[in-house]
C-alpha cells in the first residue's frame, strides 16, 4: 500500500470515528447527566435512546438557518467552522496507536497548542459578529479566559517535554513506556493541564462564555440550525481532543496490557476522561469571571512554573 493511500485511509477513518464519537457524546452526556441527576434522559428513540442522535441531527438539519439582520454575515458564517477545523486539525498529530496517526510531526505538541489557540477565534468572532450584547459579553469573557489559560496550558506541558526529550507525541508515548506514565512525575502538570483544558473547551465550571443563567447562551445566542450544531459538535470534539491529549501526555497513550489492542486502550482511557468532563458538569457551580482569572494567574501560573523548575532540576541532577 502506498504511503499516500495509507494516509488518506487513516485520515478518513479518523475523521469518521471522531465525528461519530462527537455526535454520540450528545447522547452520552445527556444520559449520564440524567443518571447523576435522578432523571431518565432521552430513552425513547431506539434502544436506550441511542438513535436520539440521529433524530437530533435530522431536526437540526431541517431547522431554519436564520442569520439575524444585524449580524455581520461573512464573519457570522465563518465563525462556527473555525472551531471544527482547528480541533480536527489538532487530531492530526495524535497517535491513536503505533503507526496510526495522520501525520507524525516532530513538533506535534506545538502544533496542538497552536491549533487550540486559533480555536478562540471561533468564539470571539461568533460573539462579535452576532452584534448582540450578551454574545459580546460572552466572547469578551472567552477571549480573556482563553488567553490566560493558554499560557499555563503550554507551560504545564513543558515538564512532559523535558522528561520525554521531544515534542513529538509518538516519542512522548514511547517515553512513557520506558520511564512510567507521566501523571506520576508530572502530577502538577497534569492537574494544571486538565484545568486549562476545561477552560479551553469552556465546559462547566469554566463555561463563563456561555453561562446560561447570566448570558442566556453567551457567544452563540444568535446561532440556530446547523451553525449552532457546529458549535455544539465543536464543543464535543474539543472534549474528545483534550481527553485524548491527557491520555497521550500523561496516561501512556495506547500503552496497556496486551490482551487488548492498543487503539482500544487509547479509546477506553479517553472515554474515562470524557466521563469526568460530564461528571464535573453535573457537580460544580460556576465561579465568577474575576475569580476564574485570579485563580488562573495567582495559583495555576505559579504552580506550572514551579512544576517546570522542579522537573528541570530533577532531570539535570539525575543526568
Amino acid at each position: 500500500m502506498s504511503p499516500l493511500l495509507q494516509t488518506i485511509i487513516i485520515t478518513v477513518v479518523v475523521l469518521l470515528v471522531l465525528m461519530t464519537i462527537a455526535a454520540n457524546l450528545i447522547w452520552v452526556e445527556r444520559r449520564m447527566l440524567a443518571l447523576w441527576q435522578d432523571r431518565l434522559g432521552p430513552n425513547r428513540v431506539g434502544p436506550l435512546g441511542l438513535v436520539q442522535v440521529v433524530a437530533d441531527m435530522v431536526k437540526i438539519f431541517f431547522k431554519e438557518d436564520w442569520i439575524p439582520k444585524f449580524a455581520d454575515r461573512p464573519v457570522f458564517f465563518i465563525a462556527p467552522t473555525i472551531v471544527i477545523i482547528t480541533v480536527l486539525m489538532s487530531f492530526a498529530v495524535i497517535p491513536f496507536a503505533p503507526g496510526i496517526s495522520v501525520v507524525n510531526l516532530n513538533v506535534g505538541l506545538l502544533f496542538f497548542l497552536a491549533m487550540s489557540s486559533l480555536g478562540v477565534y471561533s468564539v470571539v468572532l461568533g460573539g462579535w459578529s452576532s452584534n448582540n450584547k450578551y454574545s459580546l459579553l460572552g466572547s469578551l469573557r472567552a477571549a480573556a479566559q482563553m488567553i490566560s489559560y493558554e499560557v499555563f496550558m503550554g507551560l504545564s506541558l513543558m515538564g512532559v517535554v523535558i522528561l520525554a526529550g521531544s515534542f513529538n507525541l509518538n516519542d512522548i508515548v514511547e517515553a512513557q513506556g520506558r520511564i512510567t506514565w507521566f501523571f506520576i512525575p508530572q502530577i502538577l502538570g497534569f492537574f494544571v493541564f486538565f484545568l486549562a483544558g476545561i477552560a479551553e473547551t469552556h465546559r462547566l465550571p469554566f463555561d463563563l462564555p456561555e453561562a446560561e443563567s447570566e448570558l442566556i447562551s453567551g457567544f452563540h445566542s444568535e446561532y440556530s440550525g446547523m451553525k449552532f450544531g457546529m458549535f455544539f459538535v465543536g464543543e464535543y470534539l474539543g472534549i474528545t481532543l483534550i481527553s485524548s491529549m491527557i491520555v497521550t501526555l500523561f496516561f501512556g497513550g495506547w500503552l496497556g496490557p496486551s490482551f487488548l489492542p492498543p487503539v482500544v486502550w487509547f479509546l477506553l482511557k479517553m472515554a474515562v476522561f470524557i466521563l469526568i468532563f460530564v461528571l464535573l458538569r453535573a457537580a460544580l457551580p460556576r465561579p465568577r469571571y474575576d475569580q476564574l482569572m485570579s485563580y488562573g494567574w495567582k495559583f495555576l501560573l505559579p504552580l506550572s512554573l514551579l512544576n517546570l523548575v522542579v522537573t528541570g532540576l530533577v532531570v539535570l541532577l539525575l543526568k
Binding site: 462547566l204 447570566e214 442566556i216 460556576r286
Partner: protein
C-alpha cells in the same frame, strides 16, 4: 392583642393635639387614625424618628376609592383615601394612618424622602387610582403599560374586557405602542455615559433564564460592572385586587393561591386570617393544626424550589433536580390531602375544605423519615461548596437598618440578625403552641440568606412532626353562620343552616362591614391582605401586601458596583416570585 396599642394614639394626641386626628375602630384592632393631608408628613416623620420606640418600617401603603362605599360610620368625608401602615419592632405593634382626599384626581405629598420603599408604593397608587403624588422623583405607571387608559382600581374602571367596548388598534396607537417600546435611556432616568465612559445598556429579561419569570431589568453597565439598574415590572400583573372586588369572599380563595404560586395554601391563610377577623370567626383547633401543617409543608416546598434554582443561578446544574424530586414527595402528600398540587385552594372561611384522609399520618411520617438526610446532603452539596461560597459570601449585603428602611421581611430580614418572625411574635393559627426556633444570620449577604432558609426547613420539619403527633380531634370547620360552605351534617337536618348554606353558596357569604389586615409569615416574608368590607358578598377593597414587591424594589440598591454574575446571585438569594410582585 400582642401588645399595648392605645399608647400611640395618646402620644400622637399629645404631640399634635387631639383635633388633628379622627380615630377609627377596626376589626383588627390596629390603631387607625385619620390625618389631614398637610400634616401627614410630619406625623409620619414623628412616628419614624421621634416617638419613643419608633415605627421604623413602612409596612404597607395603599389607597381606597371611597366614592361608592356606604358603610363609613364616623369616618371623615373622603373620595379617595391613602392608607399608610407602619410597623414598630420594639413595640411589636402597627399603626395605620389614613389621609382623606377630595376630588376626581386628588394629590398627596410624597414620603419617598422618609422611606425609600415608598417609591414603588406611591407609583402604584398613582397607577391604580390616578392619585397624583406631589414631589415624587419618578411618577410613572408601574404595573400597567404606559399607554393604558384609565386607572384600574377606580370604581368606574370596568373589570372585564366585555365592559370596555370593542378593542381597537388604530395605526396611531400601534405606532405609539411600538414607539414606547423603543429603549431610550433618558426615559428610564439613566445617563448615557459619564466623562470618558459610554455605558452599555443590557436588557435583562422579560425573557431570560436567570430572572425566574417575566421580569425586566435594565442594566446600566460599565464593562461588566453594574452602575445602575431599573426594574421594569408588571408583566405578570393579573389585577388580583380588582378581581377581589368582583369575586365573592369565598370564590376569591383560589385566586390567592396564584399570588405567590410557590406557597399554595399559605396565601389562603393570609387572606382568610383577615376575612375571619372581619367575620369574627374562631377556628377549631383541628382546623388550625391542619392549616399549620400544610403551611409548613408548603414552606419546605417553596424553600426547595428556591434552593435548587439558586444553585442553578450560580451554575450548579444538578441540585435543582434532586430538590424537585423531594418537592414531588411533598406534592404527593398535598395531593393526597387536598386533591390538588400547586394551588390547592383548600382552606375555607372558618376552617378547611375537608377532614384529613385516612392514613395521612403515615404519609407525613414517611416524609419525616425521608427528608432530613436529604437536607444534610444538600448542605454538603451546595452550602459547603467552595465555589458556591465564593459566589455568595459578601455579595449583595445589606444591614439591618437598610433592611428596615426598605421594608424587607422574612428570611431576608432575619439574615441581618434580627429574630423577627410573625409566627413567634404575633402567633396566628395556633403557632404559639409549637416549639420551634427562628434561624438567623448576621451578615445579610447572599450566603446568609441561603443559610437562614436552609435552617428554616429543619424548623418546619419540627413543626410538622408536632402537628402529626398532636393532631387534635374535633371538627375541621367552625360552627359559625359565615363558615362557607357550612358543616354538611347540620345542613341535612337543620332548616336555618340549609338556608344559610344555600345563600352562602349561591350568592356568597355577607361579611360584616369593617376593615382588617392580619400579617402572616409567608414563605418569602410578611404577607397580608388589607380587606375593606362594605357589608356585601364581595370585598370593597382588597389590598395585597406581598413581600416580593419590596424585595424587588431593593435590588438596584444592593446590586450597584457588583458584576452581572453577582446580580444573578443576588436575585437568586432574594427568593421572589413574579406573581407575588405584580399580583
Amino acid at each position: 392583642m400582642y401588645s399595648d396599642q392605645t399608647s400611640v394614639i395618646d402620644e400622637l394626641n399629645n404631640k399634635f393635639g387631639q383635633q388633628s386626628f379622627v380615630t377609627q375602630p377596626t376589626q383588627d384592632e390596629i390603631p387607625t387614625l385619620w390625618v389631614s393631608k398637610d400634616k401627614i408628613k410630619d406625623v409620619l416623620s414623628y412616628l419614624k424618628h421621634d416617638v419613643p420606640k419608633p415605627y421604623k418600617m413602612l409596612y404597607d401603603l395603599s389607597a381606597i376609592d371611597e366614592r361608592e362605599r356606604s358603610n363609613r360610620l364616623g369616618q371623615p368625608d373622603s373620595d379617595f383615601t391613602v392608607v399608610y401602615q407602619l410597623l414598630s419592632f420594639e413595640r411589636n405593634a402597627d399603626v395605620r394612618l389614613k389621609v382623606a382626599l377630595k376630588g376626581e384626581f386628588p394629590s398627596v405629598p410624597t414620603i419617598t424622602k422618609l422611606w425609600s420603599n415608598a417609591n414603588w408604593y406611591e407609583r402604584e397608587i398613582f397607577d391604580m387610582f390616578g392619585i397624583k403624588v406631589d414631589g415624587h422623583p419618578d411618577l410613572r405607571r408601574i404595573l400597567m403599560p404606559p399607554w393604558w387608559e384609565g386607572h384600574p382600581l377606580r370604581k368606574e374602571h370596568p373589570s372585564r374586557a366585555t365592559e370596555m367596548g370593542p378593542f381597537k388598534m388604530p395605526d396611531e396607537k400601534q405606532t405609539m405602542e411600538i414607539d414606547e417600546m423603543q429603549f431610550k435611556p433618558e426615559k428610564w432616568g439613566l445617563e448615557k455615559g459619564s466623562g470618558e465612559t459610554d455605558f452599555m445598556f443590557l436588557n435583562l429579561g422579560p425573557q431570560h433564564p436567570g430572572t425566574h419569570g417575566v421580569l425586566r431589568l435594565i442594566l446600566q453597565l460599565d464593562g461588566e460592572t453594574i452602575v445602575n439598574i431599573v426594574p421594569d415590572i408588571g408583566f405578570h400583573h393579573r389585577a388580583a385586587e380588582k378581581m377581589a372586588e368582583r369575586q365573592t369572599w369565598h370564590t376569591f380563595i383560589p385566586y390567592t393561591d396564584r399570588i405567590d404560586y410557590l406557597a399554595g395554601v399559605v396565601n389562603n391563610l393570609a387572606y382568610l386570617s383577615s376575612v375571619e377577623k372581619l367575620a369574627g370567626i374562631t377556628i377549631p383547633d383541628r382546623a388550625k393544626v391542619i392549616r399549620v401543617m400544610l403551611s409548613e409543608f408548603f414552606r419546605i416546598s417553596n424553600h426547595l424550589v428556591w434552593y435548587g434554582t439558586f444553585a442553578q443561578d450560580v451554575g450548579q446544574l444538578s441540585p435543582v433536580f434532586y430538590m424537585f424530586n423531594d418537592r414531588e414527595k411533598i406534592m404527593e402528600f398535598i395531593e393526597a390531602v387536598c386533591g390538588f398540587r400547586l394551588h390547592p385552594g383548600w382552606f375555607r372561611i372558618g376552617g378547611v375544605a375537608a377532614d384529613l384522609p385516612n392514613g395521612w399520618d403515615k404519609l407525613v411520617k414517611d416524609f419525616l423519615d425521608y427528608f432530613p438526610p436529604k437536607i444534610k446532603e444538600y448542605e454538603k452539596m451546595v452550602l459547603k461548596n467552595r465555589i458556591f461560597k465564593a459566589r455568595t459570601l459578601g455579595i449583595g449585603a445589606f444591614n439591618l437598618d437598610e433592611a428596615v428602611e426598605w421594608g424587607v421581611t422574612g428570611p431576608n430580614l432575619r439574615a441581618c440578625g434580627i429574630e423577627w418572625d410573625f409566627r413567634k411574635v404575633r402567633p396566628y393559627s395556633g403557632y404559639e403552641n409549637f416549639q420551634f426556633d427562628i434561624p438567623t444570620a448576621q451578615h445579610g449577604d447572599c450566603y446568609d440568606r441561603a443559610l437562614v432558609r436552609a435552617a428554616e426547613m429543619w424548623q418546619s420539619l419540627r413543626i410538622i412532626e408536632q402537628c402529626m403527633k398532636n393532631m387534635p380531634e374535633g371538627p375541621y370547620k367552625s360552627d359559625h353562620p359565615l363558615t362557607t360552605p357550612p358543616l354538611k351534617e347540620k345542613t341535612m337536618v337543620h332548616i336555618e343552616t340549609l338556608i344559610t348554606h344555600f345563600l352562602n353558596v349561591s350568592w356568597g357569604p355577607v361579611i360584616p362591614p369593617g376593615e382588617a389586615s392580619v400579617g402572616i409569615e409567608a414563605t418569602k416574608g410578611n404577607n397580608s391582605y388589607y380587606l375593606v368590607s362594605d357589608g356585601s358578598t364581595t370585598a370593597y377593597r382588597n389590598h395585597i401586601r406581598t413581600p416580593s414587591f419590596v424585595h424587588m424594589q431593593m435590588v438596584p440598591f444592593i446590586s450597584r458596583s457588583y458584576t452581572v454574575a453577582d446580580l444573578l446571585s443576588i436575585l437568586g438569594s432574594l427568593d421572589f416570585v413574579l406573581a407575588d410582585i405584580d399580583r
